[in-house]
Symmetry: none
Subunit: 146 residues, 2 copies
DNA sequence: TACTTTGACTTTCTTTGACCTTCAAATATA
DNA sequence: TATATTTGAAGGTCAAAGAAAGTCAAAGTA
């Protein structure tokens, strides 16, 4: 919910960044302030194409920047994958690609189908390795066809 | 009963997917939560045209996606694939789908990346089997996201 | 014999709160 | 006036508790 709220804020502002107040936002969602940090740390990571900048003290703030994407970013993801990746982590990246409009929702669905643990027929460990191969192959194709 | 309940939920929602909470549903049917897993594993399998996606932890969920049976042509292809398919035959189908504007050229490229023999790491025979699994999963997704 | 049901235990992800650090403005001191 | 100190307002950290879902083997049922 908080993740979407922030993304909508950005969308509505028509900007590539937003500025929030941690306590204020925590208040809106009636949660602990540190919950905001949790959301930022798990959903607005560099991996997902966001950069956070903040300042403490009176007049403090948190700024969230949506980085402009490039093939470089996809290559970073490919690097990060290495030779093994879990389903949830792969899904995490796919959502990021969708978020940045690098892929369509149908493409996301196709990729998620391949990355789905239930369709891969081997052991957990082997599936993770196979998934890395498959996912990287698709990402490379996307980078090429950008 | 649980199987039908979920199918009716889908029907009523008029959507190609439903989202459930495992504990909640177990509560409705007064059964062990793991019973829900059992039903999902035996009744909502890939073979039967379903894909499951879930997340643990607070705010966790289980999403059940259904392949639409409406796209007869794709289903015919899926049937024809069976348990094993060569790269060239798969490419042939992909080109046909592209030719009929059922998929975009980028989708075709993504699918071809997966179907490529060079990226699959097993023996010819095993690759053909794995390719059948992967290709069918993607086709199901396309049929569903028509 | 094959299919279901159950429950104890595990894993993953989220939420919370106590305590910490930083900063700017206000106030005190030389 | 110039520097030092205090204060309150932010945001940061981390570990413990909580909330879901997953697994698996044993027991039950047809």
């Amino acid at each position: 919910m908080i993740e979407n709220f922030i993304k909508e804020m950005m969308e509505e502002a028509g900007k590539h960044y937003v500025e929030i107040q941690r306590n204020e936002l925590a208040n809106v969602f009636n949660c602990a302030p540190s919950q905001i940090n949790y959301v930022l740390e798990t959903r607005f990571t560099i991996d997902r194409g966001y950069i956070i900048e903040s300042k403490r003290g009176g007049g403090g703030y948190i700024k969230i920047y949506k980085t402009s994407i490039s093939n470089n970013w996809i290559n970073k993801i490919i690097e990060n994958i290495g030779d093994s990746i879990s389903e949830s982590k792969a899904r995490y990246y796919v959502d990021a690609l969708l978020d940045h409009n690098i892929i369509t929702s149908r493409e996301a669905a196709i990729i998620k189908a391949i990355v789905n643990d239930k369709i891969l027929p081997f052991s957990q460990e082997d599936n993770n390795m196979l998934r890395a191969i498959l996912f990287k192959a698709m990402l490379m194709e996307i980078a090429r066809n950008k």
